[in-house]
């Protein structure tokens, strides 16, 4: 298996176009179990294009979340809240006794309750990840061709059931959830060893940022995850952006990854941006071995659902490796004279390709006139109800959304290429230089990040 994993996360139907166009550039695609349960047939179509490349995140943490995190209404104030349909469909595939508590008592489960049904939980999540999609593929016309060519998709790896370590938990509670995670992992490895097909097993460690800083936390994780029989550990830290979070969190994160490297494990960021991709460089002092990113929304993700927010035009500013609001990106370009001055729009377009982004999508959008850059901001006004009345906002057009998503993914392809080709020091040097030039107000945060990873300024 290729050591570094470039992973895409598939979230919604609008991701499909970008996903299909870039599928060859990524090593695997991750689907959330709830999406798979709800849209099995469409997921089957997508994974059929990705032979042995799909991963299903089993999302077993839904058993321990506050019930409000999995509830929804049909959008009207008078509607009664109910468990989201996608979650409800997934619960049908999980142990009945555990699902019953969520459905009937509408409360999160505790460690003893889950532990009492751990064998069934492990078996059901394993079965879901390895067989659920195949059931849908068998109903498709194209199944016979897949069978004939021996190209039936199967999971790239199977993730053991996992539970989140919350900042609100006591140290003892964290230890008991870690123990539960460890048992789930052990039993999944056992189950895998008895199966006829062989899927690599992965663990997943999900936590609040504050847990990173608990005394001896990295050591406890090391102890929990030191067993053999698997290599990869997905790490998901609630809304963690290492280029923006406190330096204590960055340091604690680096310590955690170092410990996992020390026991021969290969951490993968379940949601990450360039600050994670750069740590996949072979010379990085602490190593990640893969990063997953969404097509349509941010590289960082809160664990429990939060308000979706209003859709806005965004643009990935490659030199800063950040997805910015379109207006902020345009303001930076404008300050560097891209839209004004004596140079022709064609010359400015050439400057853009030389210094900002040379991706296929930018060539498609901009051609030889820099003013076409504003097509990334194509939008239409719509009404938003606020406490001050109705206001107008701009909503990206579908074409602008797809265009921005494609540009984002082409940028990711470029980032992966440079991380595989360049040395760590050169990458960090380039990063610093770009922040100094285009976003000097954030340079001090980048410098702090650099310091944690041992980079010294000249």
């Amino acid at each position: 298996m290729k050591e570094l994993l470039r992973i895409l996360r598939y979230n919604t139907g609008t991701d499909k176009k970008a996903f299909v166009e870039l599928k060859e550039q990524f090593d695997a695609v991750v689907f959330n179990a709830t999406i798979v349960a709800y849209s099995g047939s469409s997921v089957a179509d997508l994974v059929s294009m990705h032979e042995r490349k799909y991963i299903i995140d089993p999302q077993t943490h839904i058993f321990q979340q506050d019930i409000s995190a999995i509830m929804a209404t049909n959008g009207k104030a008078e509607d009664v809240e109910h468990i989201k349909k996608s979650v409800d469909k997934y619960l049908d595939q999980l142990p009945k006794s555990l699902a019953k508590i969520l459905r009937e008592q509408q409360r999160p489960l505790n460690v003893p309750e889950i532990m009492s049904d751990i064998d069934d939980l492990v078996a059901k999540t394993y079965e879901f990840q390895t067989e659920y999609v195949s059931k849908y593929i068998k109903k498709k016309d194209y199944d016979k061709y897949l069978e004939f060519t021996d190209l039936q998709p199967s999971p790239r790896m199977v993730i053991a059931p996992y539970f989140m370590l919350k900042g609100s938990y006591s140290k003892d509670a964290i230890s008991s959830w870690l123990h539960l995670n460890s048992e789930c992992l052990r039993k999944t490895i056992e189950m895998e060893s008895k199966s006829e097909e062989h899927h690599p097993i992965a663990a997943q460690l999900v936590l609040d940022k504050t847990v990173l800083e608990l005394p001896n936390f990295a050591d406890e994780v090391k102890k929990t995850y030191s067993s053999g029989g698997y290599e990869y550990i997905f790490i998901w830290i609630d809304d963690f952006d290492a280029f923006a979070t406190s330096i204590d969190h960055v340091q604690a994160f680096a310590d955690l990854i170092k410990k996992l490297n020390g026991i021969g494990k290969k951490p993968i960021m379940a949601y990450g941006g360039y600050e994670s991709i750069i740590l996949c460089n072979a010379e990085s002092p602490v190593r990640l071995y893969g990063v997953a990113q969404s097509v349509g929304y941010g590289e960082y993700r809160a664990i429990t659902p939060v308000g979706g927010g209003l859709p806005v035009n965004k643009y990935y500013f490659l030199p800063l490796h950040r997805r910015l609001k379109f207006g902020d990106a345009a303001t930076i370009l404008s300050a560097h004279g891209y839209f004004t001055g004596s140079k022709s729009p064609a010359d400015r377009a050439r400057d853009y390709y030389a210094h900002i982004c040379d991706c296929r999508q930018c060539h498609h959008v901009i051609h030889n006139d820099i003013h076409n850059f504003n097509r990334y901001s194509d939008s239409s006004p719509y009404d938003v109800h606020t406490r001050n009345g109705i206001v107008k906002r701009n909503k990206p057009t579908y074409e602008a959304e797809v265009s921005a998503a494609l540009h984002f993914l082409y940028c990711k392809v470029q980032e992966w290429e440079s991380v595989e080709k360049q040395g760590f020091v050169d990458l960090v040097h380039e990063l610093r230089g770009n922040y100094k030039k285009y976003c000097p107000e954030k340079l001090s945060q980048i410098d702090k990040w650099c310091k944690v990873y041992g980079y010294k300024k000249n």
């Binding site: 303001t331 003013h371 206001v391």
Partner: protein, 162 residues
């Protein structure tokens, strides 16, 4: 900044009530620009130059940031705030607006009047392509009325105020 009992919406309404009759300008409320909605756009009826004005009661720094965030679409930027009660507060705001090249209006709650404290120079680096988009929006959709305030809605439907 001194607290004022009026809301931002009320502050803007009072501003509009006074300035709608003050010259050859068109005023537009809640104009969508990028990912935001600009509180008020003041457009010169002769040369069509535009100023984006943000209103804030409490957080004047945020008002400046909001105005700056749309700078490449407007010829001028402005903020309108309640007049601070202390000289120190007054100075901080004036200095910040000078540095940011932003026009500053203060509202005096006692006399219920507005005063222009700072004029702004023309914005540098305006991107014509985006400015034209704003103008196109103003020519098209802005006259439907974008606030529940009936008086402003009525007024907003008047295409120009002289």
């Amino acid at each position: 900044m001194a607290k004022d009992s009026i809301s931002e919406t009320e502050l803007r309404k009072r501003f509009v009530d006074i300035y709608k009759n003050s010259g050859k300008v068109k005023l537009y409320l809640e104009v969508p620009v990028f990912s935001r909605s600009v509180d008020l756009v003041v457009q010169d009826a002769d040369d069509l130059s535009m100023m984006a004005v943000e209103f804030k009661i409490h957080d004047w720094r945020r008002a400046i940031l909001q105005a700056q965030s749309v700078a490449i679409c407007f010829d001028y930027l402005g903020v309108c705030l309640p007049q601070p009660k202390t000289e120190r507060g007054y100075r901080s705001i004036v200095d910040a607006c000078k540095v940011s090249r932003i026009c500053l209006y203060f509202y005096d709650a006692q006399s219920k009047t507005f005063g222009k404290v700072l004029d702004s120079p023309r914005t540098a680096n305006v991107w014509d392509a985006q400015k034209k988009r704003v103008i196109k929006y103003l020519e098209g959709e802005a006259h439907e009325g974008t606030t529940p305030d009936s008086e402003v809605q009525y007024w907003n439907r008047q295409e120009s105020v002289r």
